[in-house]
Structures are given as structure tokens and as C-alpha cells.
């Protein structure tokens, strides 16, 4: 059975798990093939690919194993992509320094004293202006994960806006466009809130948020129309847009993590599947931790999917409602690291489930087929 057709069938049969009866399938494939066939048909190849992957999941009588495998594969792929994009973010160009920042701001609003430039944190992403480290792990997981954000270099101007703030906004918009910035819709919001008389909501001063982008630099300029001499009335921050390497890294991360998750799911599922009712007594066995493995896996899926399903619509609405010169990083769309505790506990459940799956099956008496 070393004909070219047999070799090609053998390659396709690699989709099936190693312990599956590949030789028997090969024999049937060769028996069924017309004498002049030298390569599998497309229909045959897709049939073997589909059913080979199904065989990897084990539990052939299960109606839900494919759905569980899909859940595990997709969420693992998404998290894999998120980690890969985080790594690719390290290819981003350094932020402009203080002098460059001040020069850019003077192009936009030349009459403002841009003398307070706040240096960026020493990392691409930071939490409370510090690089992420073990010392910040508890803050990250216990409620402050949302503080983990992209580094930016900012500047501010204190004092009361002497002139009409709307004129400041108009001047900034005009200068941005003349200096090659792509300007997004200006967002206006109330400086404070009040309900009914004696306050008239229509007279509340409006703050403006201007978003713009030039090359790989994104600007957020906030104009506060209601401030005191001691508070900020202009605030600007520059950050880098998503580097190109993030896209291929995300795709590769998704594919690799999905494949790994599918193979691991299949391995654990096959190891812990119930015995066939017709298996001979000599080979009949059961897994000692089958219930624990399934319970831990189910819990992990809840802990991984719940933040994602919560964050995804929220982030979509956020992006639709506010101008974004650059999108939020991928992990934020998955509810991370705000819900990183869920992710860590879910990951722990999965590791424990895999470790339990590795336990040897124990021999048991044959179960006679029910009639």
C-alpha cells in the first residue's frame, strides 16, 4: 500500500487521532477507489478532514461535544490572538519626547503656554504609570485591571479659559487640518450635570474632545470650558496607533491557539469518554476523574466567555459613539484585563482538568448492552 494514492490518503488520515484505526480506513478508501484514481477527490478530502477532526473529539455518540469544542477553540483562539497582539505592540515606535510634544502642540494652539509636559510611563502599556509586574498583580486582578492602558505623553494648561472656548476649539481644528492631521468629529459633553429648576440644563457649559490622527500618532485634545484658575482648561495627549505587526500576529495567534485548544480538548475528551457498552471485558475501562474534568471545563468556559460576552457589545457601542483615531487593543474587547481574575481562575481550572485527564483509566467490568 505504497502507491501515490495510498500515500495521499495516509496524509489526509493524519486528521484522525493516532489511536484511530487509520489502516482500516485506508483499506476501505483504497477498496472504494476506481483503478485509475491517483489522488483523492476534493469531496473525499473534505469528508476525511471533517470526520477526522470529529474523531479527534471522541465521544462519538455525543450530541454536544462539537459545540463544547467550538466554544473552547474559539475562546482560546481569541485569547491567543490577544496575547500575540500584546507582544506585537512592542514593535510600536517610541512616543515623541517632551520637546517634540511641545512643538506639535504649539502648531495646534500657538498662543497657549504648553509648558507642563507629563512624561510617559517607561512601558508600552502601564498600570498606574508603572510597567506591569508581579508587584501590580493584585491591583490588576482585584478590580483595577481597567487601569492597564496604552502609554501616552501628555500636556496641560491650567487656568480659566479667558477667551470663548469655542474659539479655541475652532482654532485647534483649523490648525490641525492645515498641519496634515486627520480630524474626527468633535465630541461635546456637559461640564456638569443638573436636574431641572433652578438649573437650566440647556445653559450648562460644554467640554469638547477633539480626536485627530497623523501617521502613527493619535491626539486627544480636551477643551474644558468651565474651570478655575487652579484647574486644567486644556489637556492634550499623544499616543501611537496600532502598529502593523499587530494584525498578522493576531491572526497567527488565533490560528495557533485554536489548533492547540482543539487538539488538547480532543485529547482530554477521548481520555475521559465513557466506555462503549459493547466493549469486551478485557479492554473495558473508565476514567477516575471524568466528572471533575467535565465540571472544571464547564466552569472555565463560563469564566472565559462571560467577560467576553459582556465586554464585546460594550466596546462596540463605545467605538461607535466616540471618535477613535486608533482602536482599543484586542484584549479590552475580551474584557481583559478588567476581568483578569476570571481569566486566571478559568485558566487554572483548565490546567487542572488537563492534569486530571492524564490520570490512567482503570479497568472495569464490561457493561452489557441494554436491550
Amino acid at each position: 500500500m505504497t502507491t501515490p494514492l495510498a500515500r495521499r490518503y495516509r496524509r489526509l488520515l493524519l486528521c484522525y487521532p493516532r489511536t484511530h484505526r487509520r489502516d482500516e480506513l485506508l483499506a476501505t478508501l483504497l477498496d472504494a477507489a476506481p483503478p485509475d484514481r491517483t489522488r483523492p477527490t476534493l469531496r473525499e478530502a473534505s469528508d476525511l478532514l471533517r470526520h477526522g477532526l470529529r474523531a479527534r473529539l471522541g465521544r462519538p455518540a455525543s450530541r454536544t461535544v462539537v459545540a463544547w469544542a467550538t466554544l473552547a477553540t474559539v475562546i482560546s483562539g481569541l485569547f491567543g490572538a490577544a496575547f500575540a497582539t500584546r507582544a506585537a505592540w512592542e514593535t510600536v515606535r517610541p512616543l515623541p519626547d517632551a520637546a517634540q510634544t511641545r512643538a506639535m502642540l504649539l502648531e495646534i494652539l500657538p498662543n497657549e503656554p504648553w509648558d507642563q509636559v507629563y512624561p510617559p510611563p517607561p512601558a508600552t502599556f502601564a498600570i498606574y504609570n508603572q510597567p506591569l509586574g508581579w508587584n501590580m498583580a493584585s491591583e490588576m486582578m482585584l478590580g483595577d485591571g481597567g487601569e492597564y492602558s496604552q502609554a501616552a505623553i501628555g500636556a496641560g494648561v491650567n487656568g480659566h479659559p479667558g477667551d470663548d472656548p469655542r474659539r479655541t476649539v475652532d482654532e485647534a481644528l483649523a490648525n490641525l487640518e492645515s498641519h496634515g492631521w486627520r480630524v474626527y468629529n468633535t465630541a461635546w459633553s456637559d461640564a456638569y450635570s443638573c436636574v431641572g429648576p433652578p438649573c437650566d440644563p440647556t445653559t450648562i457649559p460644554q467640554n469638547a474632545t477633539i480626536a485627530a490622527r497623523r501617521g502613527d500618532t493619535a491626539l486627544t485634545l480636551e477643551v474644558y470650558t468651565w474651570s478655575t484658575p487652579d484647574t486644567t482648561h486644556l489637556s492634550a495627549s499623544f499616543m501611537r496607533t496600532t502598529p502593523l505587526a499587530v494584525w498578522p500576529a493576531g491572526i497567527a495567534g488565533f490560528l495557533l491557539a485554536s489548533l492547540a485548544a482543539l487538539l488538547l480538548f480532543g485529547w482530554a475528551s477521548r481520555r475521559t469518554e465513557a466506555d462503549y457498552p459493547t466493549r469486551p471485558a478485557a479492554t473495558s475501562s473508565e476514567h477516575p476523574a471524568r466528572g471533575w474534568v467535565m465540571g472544571l471545563f464547564g466552569l472555565a468556559m463560563v469564566l472565559w466567555w462571560a467577560p467576553t460576552l459582556y465586554a464585546l457589545p460594550f466596546m462596540t457601542l463605545h467605538h461607535v459613539r466616540e471618535p477613535h483615531p486608533t482602536w482599543h487593543p484586542m484584549w479590552e474587547w475580551l474584557g481583559q484585563p478588567t476581568f483578569s481574575l476570571f481569566f486566571v481562575v478559568g485558566g487554572g481550572c483548565l490546567l487542572l482538568a488537563l492534569a486530571l485527564s492524564a490520570l490512567p483509566r482503570r479497568q472495569t467490568e464490561a457493561i452489557t448492552a441494554a436491550t
Binding site: 489502516d23 482500516e24 483499506a27 476501505t28 476525511l48 471533517r50 470526520h51 474523531a55 459493547t278 448492552a369
Partner: protein, 111 residues
């Protein structure tokens, strides 16, 4: 019970058969209408074995090719008998209705 499952069980009703034998028998039983692919057949056989309707019978080596024969189990025979009776009842009910002419239904044109 889906049609391929019914045909596979029917193919095994009179004698144990190996994979290629089942493919041929299914094709013959359906008058050439159902042509199972090998991957589909073995997924169905795995499922039927897990459900206890089919079990491996014996293995043999022919021209260097491994052949495993499958046979119907007692629950498999029961399931096939029940499905056959169900299909027969359905067919009988349909024939009975077809024998009662409905004036609103156009008559088939003569060939």
C-alpha cells in the same frame, strides 16, 4: 433515525460486513441514490458502536489490507425492527390517503 443510519443497519442485518462491503450494500439498497463516503461511514460506525447498536465482529488481512467486520447487536436489531415498522406504518398511511382521491388535487397526467 436518519436515512444513512437506517441503511447501514440494514446492510448489517443479514451478515457481518467490512467497511467497503457496507458502502457497496448501502449503495445497492438505495438503488444507487445514497453513496456514502468513507469518512462519513466510519463516523457513523463509531457512533453506532458507542450506542451499542453495532459491534466489531472479526478482523482479517486481505491483500495486505486490514479489514474489520461489523455486526448488528441485539439492541441494533431491535432498533432496526422498530424503525422498519415505523416507516412501514408511515408508508401505509400515505398509500391509504393516496387511494382516496381528493377532488381539489389535479390528477396526474397519463404518460
Amino acid at each position: 433515525m436518519r436515512e444513512p443510519t437506517f441503511l447501514i443497519l440494514t446492510a448489517l442485518a443479514d451478515a457481518p460486513r467490512h467497511g467497503y462491503g457496507i458502502l457497496q450494500e448501502v449503495n445497492a439498497l438505495s438503488g444507487g441514490r445514497v453513496s456514502l463516503l468513507t469518512g462519513t461511514l466510519y463516523t457513523a460506525l463509531d457512533r453506532l458502536c458507542a450506542e451499542g447498536l453495532v459491534e466489531p465482529d472479526h478482523e482479517e488481512l486481505v491483500d495486505g489490507r486490514a479489514r474489520r467486520y461489523y455486526r448488528l447487536t441485539s439492541p441494533g436489531l431491535t432498533a432496526l425492527t422498530a424503525e422498519t415498522a415505523r416507516l412501514r406504518d408511515l408508508a401505509a398511511a400515505a398509500e391509504s390517503r393516496l387511494r382516496t382521491p381528493n377532488p381539489a388535487t389535479p390528477k396526474p397526467r397519463p404518460a
